[in-house]
């Protein structure tokens, strides 16, 4: 239920809006980059660009300074309240890269394209708006988003958010391949494109060599005159990349007891440095996020070494000495409020330029092992059964570490099946079974599990049906994709609490502090269905033609025969003139004797000498032809 999260998020932003927009009535642009080391020797880079424009009622016609016009036109034309479009390649590894922090729960997306939108139009116009929107977006982003147009590829979740009931549409394209041609139009929406500022870091080969990258476009439009406040559009563009520093060239990393975290710098990850900020940006910051568990582990190590050496008492938290060394002194350090807290180093890149480039680097001093905070449940979805008759989709939920009661709202989408059974602990459930060519099947469940739950399995059985021939895609033998199920935990909030003094207007900071429910996506599934042999139509055509020919031939034969006349002819022994002549000639040719020797009655045997002679003649002719004409 990304919808749940994003609509609450939308609400949150609405509250936030007064502060932002009352302060400045002008268009604003923020660029930020958050870098975070991950436990499995990878680095997460999260680019965050925020453009906002105040929208007066008459302002649609006027020129925007920073805000992309295409987006504002989109918002105006389709009356979009909120929208999110994401292009993702690779899978987010919930176990190693975490599932409970704000970055993962907001930016981990299913592979392919995901789009949802809330419209501010009457109920009966929502579908039409959605269809038009998909077409516009597919033109804007060079992707086949228009495939979401057909009603069997999108759905209207009910409980994702109460506020957007009925006006929300959701669709995914798991098979969409994501490439630079999608990134370029996305970058075009930025005021500095990728020519200056943080976006200049986006070296295409390194971005597309990454283990996971997801580009996201989140749009919130608030035209709420009821508040008496100014309305505005907030365009939030993020690019989340998981990269591996210094990739070995197909070499082996030796499995040591302790895997040493590789030291990295921005230039070693991206191959580029930051040459300075985008001058149009109001703020351009780089953050380095050190996770809670990592801080704890480092402090533990620190304590050990202190107890061991006991000479370096001053634990300078600000810089270095915490197990790693940062090449540049941070402008600010934010610590979380709790005891074991994560640390956020802030760098402003305002004063950097071509001569003095910004290149943040991190060097590890000790090998350290930590883990990311995991989502409350480990979820995996898989197919059960074999054969072409029926199967079932199972979602297994296993508890990870948290021992608190919670609610799981579960939104299962599945396309080619009919659900048949559900387990206990269901609070609410809504099922809209799939209809051929009309709608997808969708199942929404709100589950409440007891605290001591170990594992739960949802099993949805379905019958595999035969599709109509024009419903098969060109590569029918690949199977059919079932988009990810979305699991959200409304009682769990992925948010970090930083101390009050760090309240800045930085959008990334506010995102990190936002209390949004934890979301996770399951795997995309591939259901092999029976596919007909597509050369069969040809066979069918030939067979039908043969049958028709036989049928009509014999029918015509029967119809044109006049039995009485035939009998009369036989009796009169009077063949037509030309036939008589032919027969005479024939008998002359065979020799005069044949007329008398040939028995009158129809020989019981099928094979007559003439037939044999004919066959031999034809066969001989064929052999001669074959032999000499080649």
């Amino acid at each position: 239920m990304p919808l749940a999260s994003t609509t609450t998020l939308a609400l949150y932003l609405l509250l936030l809006l007064p502060i932002l927009s009352s302060a400045t009535l002008e268009e604003e642009f923020h660029e930020e980059l958050l870098v975070k080391p991950l436990p499995d020797r990878k680095v997460l880079a999260h680019f965050h660009f925020l453009t906002e424009a105040p929208v007066a009622d008459d302002s649609f016609a006027r020129h925007h300074h920073l805000f992309p016009k295409s987006i504002s036109q989109l918002v105006k034309k389709f009356h979009i309240k909120a929208m999110e479009l994401s292009f993702t390649q690779g899978r987010w590894n919930y176990e190693r890269w975490g599932g409970l922090d704000p970055i993962s729960s907001q930016n981990a997306k299913p592979p392919g394209v995901e789009l949802w939108a809330v419209f501010d139009v009457p109920q009966h116009q929502v579908d039409a708006s959605w269809k038009n929107l998909t077409h516009s977006l597919s033109g804007l982003f060079c992707a086949s988003i228009n495939f979401l147009e057909s009603s069997s590829s999108y759905s209207a979740p009910k409980w994702a958010s109460q506020s957007a009931l009925g006006s929300l549409r959701y669709g995914t394209l798991p098979r969409e391949a994501v490439c630079t041609e999608n990134l370029t139009p996305w970058l075009k929406l930025l005021p500095c494109r990728d020519k200056a500022g943080l976006s200049a870091l986006m070296d295409r080969p390194s971005v597309y060599r990454s283990f996971y990258h997801s580009q996201r476009l989140h749009l919130t439009a608030s035209t709420a005159p009821a508040d008496g406040l100014d309305s505005g559009i907030i365009l939030e563009q993020t690019l989340t990349v998981v990269l591996q520093p210094n990739i070995q060239k197909a070499g082996l990393s030796f499995p040591d007891e302790f895997k040493i975290q590789p030291s990295w710098s921005l230039s070693s990850i991206f191959g580029r440095k930051v040459n300075g900020r985008c001058v149009l940006a109001k703020s351009s910051n780089v953050y380095l996020h050190v996770e809670r568990d990592l801080v704890a582990q480092l402090e533990k190590l620190q304590k050990n070494t202190d107890a061991y050496a006991d000479n370096d008492g001053g634990t300078d938290v600000l810089r270095g000495n915490l197990g790693f060394e940062i090449s540049i002194k941070p402008d600010r350090v934010h610590r979380e409020l709790e005891k074991s807290s994560s640390i956020l180093y802030e760098y402003s890149i305002k004063e950097y330029n071509d001569t003095e480039q910004f290149d943040l680097g991190l060097t590890w001093k000790y090998p350290v092992v930590w883990s990311c905070p995991l989502a409350p449940l480990y979820a995996s979805r898989f197919l059960i059964g074999s054969g072409n008759e029926r199967g079932s989709i199972a979602i297994s939920l296993k508890s990870t570490e948290l021992t608190k009661g919670f609610v799981v709202a579960n939104n299962v989408e599945e396309k080619y099946g009919k659900p048949q059974s559900v387990t206990d602990f269901v609070e609410r459930m809504s099922v809209s079974p799939s209809e051929d060519k009309v709608s997808t099947g969708m199942m929404e469940l709100i589950l409440r599990f007891p605290c001591d739950i170990k594992s739960a399995i949802l099993n949805i059985e379905f019958d595999k049906g035969f599709l109509h021939i024009d419903e098969y895609p060109p590569d029918a033998n690949q199977g059919f994709d079932i988009p990810s199920a979305i699991i959200s935990f409304p009682d769990f909030h992925a948010g970090l609490q930083f101390s009050d003094d760090s309240i800045s207007k930085s959008p990334v900071m506010s995102k990190l502090q936002e209390k949004s429910p934890v979301l996770l996506y399951t795997e995309v599934l591939l259901v092999p269905l029976t596919t007909p042999d597509f050369s069969m139509p040809y066979n069918v055509i030939t067979i039908t033609c043969t049958v028709f020919a036989l049928y009509f031939g014999s029918l015509l034969n029967v119809l044109q025969r006049r039995v009485a006349e035939e009998e009369r002819l036989l009796k009169a022994n009077k063949a037509p003139f030309h036939r008589q002549v032919l027969n005479k000639l024939y008998s002359r040719f065979r020799g005069g004797s044949s007329e008398s020797t040939q028995p009158k009655q129809q020989s019981s045997s099928f094979i007559t000498p003439t037939l044999i002679i004919k066959i031999i003649f034809v066969a001989g002719f064929a052999v001669v032809c074959q032999f000499y004409l080649k």
């Binding site: 436990p39 283990f211 995996s380 170990k454 033998n477 014999s554 022994n573 027969n583 099928f606």
Partner: protein
Amino acid sequence: MAESETVTATKPSVRRFVKLGIFLISHSNYVSFIGLVSGIVALLLLPILAKNTYVSENALMPGSANNMLSTQHVSRATEFVNDLTDSVSESHEIIAQYMSALDAEVTYHKFHPQLNQFNPLHFFTSPDSGIVSKNISCSSLGINIAGIIRAPRGDGKESIVLVTPYNPRKVGPGEALSLGIAYSVFSLLSRVTWLAKDVIWLVADSQYGEYSAVDAWLREYHAPAFREADIDNSETCNAINEVGQNPSSDRKLYSGFRRAGTMAAALVIKVAEQGNRHEDILNIYPEASNGQMPNLDLINIVNYLGAHKRGLRVKVNKMFSLFGSRWLNTLGGILESLGQIARSLNPQWKFGISATEYVEGAATLASSLYLQGLGVPTGPHGAFRDYQVDAITLEISPKVSPYKMISHSRNEFILRGGRLIEGVIRSINNLLEKFHQSFFLYLLTSSSKFVSVGVYMIPFALLVAPLPIVAGSLYSEASKSSSSSEVVVKYKSWKWLNSARKVLAIHLWGAVVSLLPYFLYQIPNSTPTTNFTVWGILSASSLLILYFVLGSPIFESATSQPEKGEWASLKSVTIATTFIGLSLMSVINFATAEIGALLIVPICLMAQPLKLDIRSRSLRTLLRATCNLALGLVVFPPVAYFLIKGAFEDTYGIKVDEYWNWVESLWTWNSATYLYVGIVHLPCWALCIHILFHPC
């Protein structure tokens, strides 16, 4: 003349078919002879008609990329092999450690060795979730280790499976080498960027049999049973061994069963324990249960990469006993000379192949037919076929025995095998759709030649075609003879039903006989020999009882005297049922039907009461009587089994319990051949014998 011409001209074309039918029926003797002979000849011609294989799916592109497997990977793999062979115990922990060092997700899958039990109602059913036998201690658990590499940029919808069976109790050098090959490939794949499908490496615990381990893992993968008992059981047994992760890293990883999408293909890698002293040989085992074969493209890419890129000699199973047979060699010589004559007539006719090639093709074809007909999978890959996954077993037999391999040659061997596997995986990785382009129904005549379904159906059709014709002719004869007296005309249809009733009863007896082992299995402490004798006695006595019941006046008609034409109508119904049975079987398992037709069709066509033959003491009838007797002996299932076994498996010596074991293996593998033998072959044989000794 003129009249006849006009009459034939005005005849509608439809009647010509009828006429043709009548003609065939009236000459049924010739037709059956021609059909039989041409069927056998066509079968013998199959090696000549075989076509060269070709990679049909364009996406596969085998061998188009350079191999990336380097000596570095191989040296790591040898290290792994050394660690594995040196360690006395806990080999699965070593494997898991090495796997997780490659960033693979490692899971243990514990399974109970499943006792194979004959269950008559489980034929043709989808694989069930299995019967968990009670009171199994944790020590008897088998432990499969599965490592999964996630494709870095893939969507995880599909996966490729590598299987290496090994026995943790005693890791032989061959097994260790196969693990080394798999490890070298796995370590490469964990670093490559081109991977689009996840790769699963399953190290199957083969101490209770390779097949059952793989099957248990697949069952858990595709049809897991969610039961509380299972959870409890696994909890209690969990204490024994936790996943061998480094205690320091990845502590919180989920330790349950992991999956990786729909399987695209599976490769089982084995290394033979014996060297063959000549060259490295790659044996391909494709046959799965009930004669199902993987898509030909899978064999094609392995053959292409093995033979052309890696210089291995690729082989499929052959019947070595056929190499020495003189008649086959002479036949090959004749065909070769025929081909030469044809080529001299027209150089474009290229159907001739050399005699040695012919013999080799025939031996491979025979073994392909036999193994498919048996319906028993030839390796652990058979378990995959039950889930519609294309899989083959690759057995690499090295030049030097793995026991004597020095480190250099071992490295060379691992590099060679690893590159082959890498190439195959890369090809499958390219695949966009599942295997569907190439053939599923084929017989192999060598690793690069095949006979497709359109060709191999011909001999079978020729063999079977005379059956309905002979049945028709017998039926018409019987009805003709009985219609001589006006009174009996009424009974004409009834008479036919009478013989049909008999045939049905015998077929029911066949079904009962094939169900008997289920009850015999309940007898404790029984040896195969006693089982077999009990089975034989029971079935014979039930046949006798049936015979007396059927012969009793209650069931017999008022005209209890057996009539002259009675045997004819009985034979016609028998032949008709045989025809139906063979046709049905050809749909389920073609090879069984082919072999069965070769055995049963001659006696079905020739069977005639011995009394009649002996009464008319001509040479021809006596010859026929002896032929019939000989055939009647040969076709009796146990005798036929020993004959086929003697012909194909060059082991002589007849043991009764061997037959029982064979039958047992058939039903434990759910082979349809068992049903065929019990329900079609045996009753037909009994009926033929009944006709032979018919008192007329």
